[in-house]
Structure formats: structure tokens, C-alpha cells
């Protein structure tokens, strides 16, 4: 639409327009603005469309590589902005064997919230859909995915190993160069996708945990995802093997001639009380005899915080006879006491082949050294 100012200017020009001058010079200025604005909108629209297509393409390529178990190809789409691609022990499961079959990217849509840019994705299959988002950044015209990893902390202590889909890593092997690293229990980083944890859990009769589709959390400050092993029910063979290891431990403990055998489930404690008010002091010439071995029970419950293995309880605490000499009322007296097994510091974890590993958390080992203190499990019976 011509404006009121333009018409007089056009009339004032007596020269005919030059043939080389564009016709637009004659067009009303309003129309010119409209054309320019339209062109700008078209260009911007095309730019945004192409830009979002680029970001979606990158995310689609990322998932295509994952589904094809091409981990390195997928990681090519991840930039360093954020935390970048992890390596070493944290990256133990960025491995083709840790990628499951049977899932795919179902939907991907670019979103520019004005604060950040991301691609909303849905993964799954015909029966299940899981949605989340992958943050993307444009660095000099190149789209990269920011931290598409799922940080996971395992309470994997029912097992000596971590199993993620078809990849199995024995925890102590992963950290064999530095025992201190075993305290942590993780975390490890996983790629988006479908996950079966702990697999068939050899040595147990528990049903495998159902598969879960994981995407990174929306908030990158989120705590790691904490994964607990499925409820573990030992097979009769595994339970028998635990009992056999417990029996061997008790027999070895009976060899000690100290009041609190190291790593053993019985002892007199810090001070041996004869009754509520009187003690027996300066014990020496100590003998332990296992009269009835405790019957051990492992029901799959985890013990310790954070967990350090499956708890060991007893259906029968057994009977261990202590015979020793100690000072009672100023005299050296030979006496006996009856003791039970306190299995509070014993743990069991299952190895990849399903065989159990019985250990005492008071002894430096897979979980370092946990202070447990001396526990008194004996009752004074009288002079010999």
C-alpha cells in the first residue's frame, strides 16, 4: 500500500526510469517491505527447519548406530560440551555386548525452548514406549548431543559382578589396580536403550528382573540411577555351598587361641562378663570347640549401607564351647562358656558361575575394611 509521503516524491521525478533499474523501484515501499519480510520469514523458516532437521538427523544417526551396536559410531555424535564421553572404569559398559536387541527409536522431535535445545525422543517397541530428551548444542553449525548417558549406581553386592545385557564385568577385576575403587560401587555410564541387569543370575532361582528402557534424566544434576539386584533366592546347591563355606570358616576359627578370633562370628567381646556385675579378666590358655555348627540362611536381603553383600542369618546359631583360664576375684580359674555364632558381619555374594563367596566385612577384601568391633557372643557357664 503506498504511503502518503511516497506519491509526491514519485511525481517530483520527471526523468523516465532507466531500463537497467529494477522495476521494484517503482513499487510502493510498503509492498517492498512486505516482500522483504516474507522473504525473511521464508529464509528463517527454512533455516529453522533445516537446523532442526540437522539436530534430529544427528539424534537419529546416534540411535541408528546404537541399535546396530556401533558404539563408537554413536559416540561420534556426542560432543565434549557437558561432561563428554566417559572412559575407563566408568565406561565399562559402553560396549556392544551391553546393547540389547529388540528396541529402536520411535520418534524424535526438535524443541528449542529458548533456554536450551533438545530433541524429544521416544524409544521402545510395539508394546512399550519410553520418552525423554537428549540435549543438543549447535557449535559452529554442527549439532552435537550433550551427555546422552544414564549414570547408574549398582547395589550389585548380591553378586561379585555387574551384568548389563550380555556384558559381564567382575567388580574386583574392574578395580584390581586400586582396591579403594571398589568401595564406590560405581557409578558407571550407560547409553540410552533397553537394559536387562544381572541377567539370569546363576546360582539363584529368582525370576530375572524385567527389561527397562532408559534415557538420560532431564536434569543433568540428578543423582545417579540406583539399581538394586532382583530378589535373589539361592538354589539348594548354592545354599549348601554357603553352608559348607560357613562350616569351614567355623572349623578354622576354632584353631585360634585368642579371645576374639579375627574374621570369625564368635568371641568374648571387649570385656567378658560373668554376670551383670562381674567379669573374667586376663584370659589365657584359650580353647574353642565347635560342638554344633550354625545353620546359615541367606534369603537375598542385602546388608550394610551402602550394601556390602547379602546378609547371612542363622536358623540355628550353633554352639561353640570356650574353655579358658581367667582371673576371677583375684584367682586364676579355669572356666567354660557357651557361645553362639553372630553372623552380622558375614556376607555372601554370587560369582558369575553361581558359586557363592562367603566373606567377613571386617577383613580387608572386596569392600575394603569395615570396622565391625568385637562382638561378645558367649555366656559364662562356670568353673571347670
Amino acid at each position: 500500500m503506498p504511503s502518503a509521503d511516497e506519491a509526491p516524491d514519485a511525481l517530483k521525478n520527471p526523468d523516465p526510469p532507466s531500463p537497467s533499474q529494477p522495476d521494484t523501484a517503482r513499487l510502493p515501499r510498503g509492498l517492498t517491505v512486505l516482500v522483504l519480510v516474507t522473504a525473511l520469514v521464508v529464509v528463517l523458516g527454512a533455516y529453522v527447519a533445516l537446523r532442526s532437521d540437522d539436530a534430529v538427523d544427528v539424534v537419529e544417526d546416534f540411535f541408528a548406530a546404537l541399535v546396530a551396536k556401533d558404539v563408537e559410531g554413536a559416540l561420534e555424535k556426542v560432543g565434549r560440551i557437558g561432561y563428554g564421553v566417559p572412559y575407563g572404569e566408568r565406561a565399562a559398559f559402553l560396549h556392544p555386548d551391553a546393547i540389547a536387541d529388540g528396541w529402536r527409536l520411535l520418534d524424535a522431535e526438535f524443541v528449542d525452548s529458548g533456554i536450551d535445545t533438545y530433541v524429544e525422543v521416544t524409544i521402545g517397541d510395539e508394546e512399550s514406549r519410553t520418552s525423554g530428551r537428549l540435549e543438543v548444542t549447535d557449535f559452529g553449525g554442527e549439532w552435537n548431543i550433550v551427555d546422552p548417558f544414564v549414570e547408574v549406581e549398582f547395589s550389585a553386592t548380591a553378586f561379585t559382578y555387574l551384568a548389563v545385557n550380555d556384558r559381564q564385568v567382575v567388580w574386583s577385576r574392574l578395580h584390581e589396580h586400586y582396591v579403594g575403587g571398589m568401595f564406590a560401587g560405581g557409578p558407571v555410564e550407560l547409553l540410552p536403550g533397553r537394559y536387562n541387569f544381572f541377567g539370569a543370575a546363576a546360582g539363584t532361582t529368582g525370576a530375572p528382573a524385567p527389561a527397562v528402557d532408559l534415557l538420560p534424566p532431564d536434569d543433568d544434576r540428578s543423582d545417579p540411577l540406583k539399581l538394586s539386584p532382583p530378589a535373589v533366592a539361592l538354589t539348594p546347591e548354592t545354599a549348601a555351598a554357603v553352608q559348607a563355606q560357613g562350616d569351614a570358616l567355623l572349623d578354622d576359627c576354632a584353631r585360634f587361641t585368642t579371645p576374639n578370633p579375627h574374621g570369625c562370628p564368635f568371641g568374648i567381646g571387649d570385656v567378658f562378663a560373668r554376670d551383670e556385675r562381674n567379669g573374667v579378666y586376663d584370659l589365657h590358655d584359650i580353647e574353642w570347640e565347635v560342638l554344633r555348627r550354625p545353620a546359615l540362611l541367606v534369603d537375598g536381603t542385602l546388608a550394610g549401607d551402602p550394601p556390602t553383600g547379602m546378609a547371612v542369618t542363622t536358623t540355628d546359631p550353633g554352639l561353640v564351647r570356650l574353655t579358658a583360664t581367667g582371673e576371677i576375684d583375684g584367682d586364676d580359674v579355669r572356666f567354660t562358656a557357651d557361645c553362639v555364632a553372630d553372623t552380622g558381619s558375614l556376607r555372601v555374594a554370587l560369582r558369575p558361575d553361581g558359586t557363592p563367596e562367603l566373606y567377613d566385612v571386617g577383613v580387608f577384601g572386596p569392600f575394603g575394611f569395615q570396622l565391625t568391633g568385637e562382638i561378645g557372643t558367649c555366656v559364662y557357664k562356670g568353673e571347670v
Binding site: 565434549r80 575407563g88 574386583s172 577385576r173 587361641t257 586364676d332 580387608f364
Partner: protein, 351 residues
């Protein structure tokens, strides 16, 4: 302006500029492509370095490390060909995709002959000359937690608590084969180092603290050293030998037995039974676990503290060889033992 007086479109005046710009663009693109194809890349520097390591070429490998900050502030005991082992390979070298490559990250997987592998990360940056340089070619190893007073890789020993090693695979403590059972150590580069004020990259420390497994000869070797320790203490003829698992009192001539106390410069120690002990690892040492305490007889002649006649008297008593609280550290000569802190092990019928 044309001679006809007709004004040419404005862009036609810029054609020459566009031509020059196009030519420059082609030239720049050509240079970039050439540089990308022919030029050195971060991962090729890493491959060259790994090749030197695999070939046990310490001299060549050290050329890559010449600019490492603090290179000479830590010992080079293990930066020698003898400490480097063959038989391992870098099974993967991957340059991670980075937005800016300042520095570039090149991840490597080092795999031992038995298939054990670990993954590390080299940080590779352009230096002032435009060459790619590995910022962390060496592993700064901290070994203060090991229960030994020396570290030994591939037969080369060092008593330092922090030292440089090349990435690679190391056989740990081969001289103690049969005594301790240790996995091969796969040393990998770690990033996460800091930058000093003058923009030097300072390496992060990697801790080395494996679980020292007990090989079949461990118990016998330890028992032999415990007996030798006790025998050496007994041979001193001192009532209070220093750093021993038994002693009769507090000061030099103090002898406190269950029935009386004596003054004696010399005594006779006679081992009645050696203790039965085991070890359990902790940070920096092994703790002694007592299965059975030992017994040792003390005898001598001295003035009885609780008699008034001042006459020297013959005395004899039985003392414990107290191993509770004792610690052991592996040394090149065996186990170095240190006693726990106890009062006279002769005054009471101890455990």
C-alpha cells in the same frame, strides 16, 4: 558508472571482489583439505608414541614426554627399557569427537597378553609451533598405599612413593613370585590434570593399590621371617630389646615378672613356642592376625625390687610373644615386622 551514464547494478561493481573471495576460499579449502589429509593428527601422534612404548624404546618415548610439567620432580626409576614390557598391545585408539579439540581427546585401550585390558585417555594439544603434543604421556603413579616398602614392575624396583611410569603392562613383583599373587598392572593415561598459572598441564595421580594375594609360599616365608625376628630379639640378651614382640619392662634393666620385679642388665631368652600368625592387608602395611600367641622364657639374676636385702637373686618367668597389634611390610629382604604397643609381656599370664 558506465560511459552511457547508465548506473550499473551495485553488485556488478563487486564482481571483482567476489572473484577474489572465491579464489581465496578455494585456496583456503585446498590448504585445509591438504592439511587434514597429509598433516599430523592428534591420534597419529598417539600411535607414534604407543609404537615407541610397544618397542620398549624409552629414549624415543621420552621425547614425547620432554615437555611434561614436573618431569624431573618425580623419579625416573621406571622410565627405562628394562622396566618396559613387550607383549602388550594398544588394541584401540579412538579420537573422541570434540567441538574444539583444545585439547583433543584420544582414548586408548591397552591389552595385556592374557587379555586383561584397561582404557585410558590422552589429552593432545597444539603447541606454539602448531604441532600436536601429548599433554599426559606419562602416568604419575602413587604407591603409598601398598603394603611394601618398594614397588617392582618387570623386575625393576623403586622405593619411591610417587613416580612416573610409561603407559603399558607391568608384571608386578616378579621377584616375589610364589609368595604374593598379583595381577599384571595395566598403566593407562588419565586426564583430569590441572593447569598451572603459567598454563602448564599438571598430571593427575593414579593410585596403585592391588589386593596382595597370598601365593603358596607366602605362609612359609612369613613364618620363617617371624621366627628370625623373634630369634634375633631373643639373641640380644636385653630384658627390653627394642622393636620386639616381647619385653620384660619399661627401661633398659627393668624386669617385671608375675611374682616380683628385678633389676638386670642382661637376661637369657629362650623361645618355648613360636606364635602362629597370619596377615591381612590394609593400607600401607599388613596387620598381623594372631591365631596363637607364642611363649618365651626369661631368666637371669638381679636385685629384687620388693626385697630389702639388696642381694642378687636368680629369677625365671614365662612371657608372651605378643603379636597382636604387630604389622608387617614387604621389603626386598622379606617381611619387616614391627610390634604393637604393649606393657611388659612377662608380668601377667597374657593370652
Amino acid at each position: 558508472m558506465s560511459r552511457t551514464g547508465i548506473t550499473a547494478p551495485w553488485w556488478t561493481q563487486l564482481r571483482w571482489l567476489a572473484t577474489i573471495a572465491a579464489a581465496v576460499s578455494v585456496l583456503v579449502a585446498g590448504v585445509l583439505v591438504t592439511a587434514a589429509v597429509l598433516g599430523e593428527r592428534p591420534e597419529s601422534v598417539v600411535v607414534e608414541y604407543l609404537t615407541a612404548l610397544e618397542n620398549r624404546d624409552a629414549e624415543r618415548a621420552l621425547e614425547f614426554a620432554s615437555e611434561v610439567s614436573g618431569l624431573d620432580s618425580l623419579p625416573h626409576d621406571l622410565l627405562v627399557p628394562e622396566a618396559m614390557s613387550a607383549g602388550w598391545t594398544a588394541t584401540r585408539v579412538v579420537r573422541r569427537h570434540n567441538e574444539d579439540d583444545e585439547p583433543a581427546n584420544v582414548d586408548v585401550t591397552i591389552t595385556a597378553a592374557d587379555g586383561t585390558s584397561r582404557e585410558g585417555r590422552f589429552a593432545v594439544a597444539l603447541d606454539e609451533d602448531g604441532d600436536w603434543r601429548i599433554l599426559n604421556p606419562l602416568v604419575k603413579l602413587g604407591v603409598e598405599g601398598i603394603p611394601a616398602d618398594f614397588v617392582e614392575f618387570n623386575g625393576i624396583r623403586s622405593t619411591e612413593k610417587e613416580l612416573w611410569v610409561f603407559p603399558g603392562v607391568y608384571r608386578a613383583y616378579p621377584s616375589l613370585e610364589g609368595i604374593v599373587d598379583l595381577p599384571d598392572f595395566v598403566a593407562v593415561p588419565v586426564d583430569g590434570g590441572g593447569w598451572s598459572e603459567d598454563q602448564d598441564y599438571t598430571a593427575a595421580t593414579s593410585g596403585y593399590l592391588p589386593l596382595f594375594g597370598f601365593a603358596p609360599d607366602f605362609a612359609a616365608a612369613f613364618e620363617r621371617d617371624v621366627k628370625a625376628w623373634i630369634d634375633a630379639c631373643a639373641a640380644t640378651s636385653e630384658p627390653n630389646p627394642g622393636k620386639c614382640p616381647f619385653h620384660a619392662g619399661d627401661d633398659l634393666s627393668d624386669v617385671r615378672l608375675a611374682d616380683n620385679a628385678y633389676e638386670a642388665e642382661t637376661v637369657v631368652w629362650e623361645v618355648l613356642s613360636y606364635p602362629v600368625v597370619r596377615l591381612t592387608q590394609r593400607t600401607g602395611a599388613f596387620d598381623v592376625v594372631v591365631v596363637e600367641q607364642g611363649e618365651i622364657r626369661i631368666s637371669g639374676e638381679g636385685e629384687a625390687r620388693y626385697e630389702d636385702d639388696g642381694e642378687p637373686r636368680r629369677f625365671t618367668g614365662t612371657c608372651s610373644v605378643r603379636m597382636d597389634g604387630a604389622t608387617a611390610v614387604l621389603t626386598a629382604d622379606g617381611f619387616a615386622l614391627a610390634p604393637g604397643s604393649h606393657p611388659s609381656t612377662c608380668a601377667l599370664p597374657y593370652l
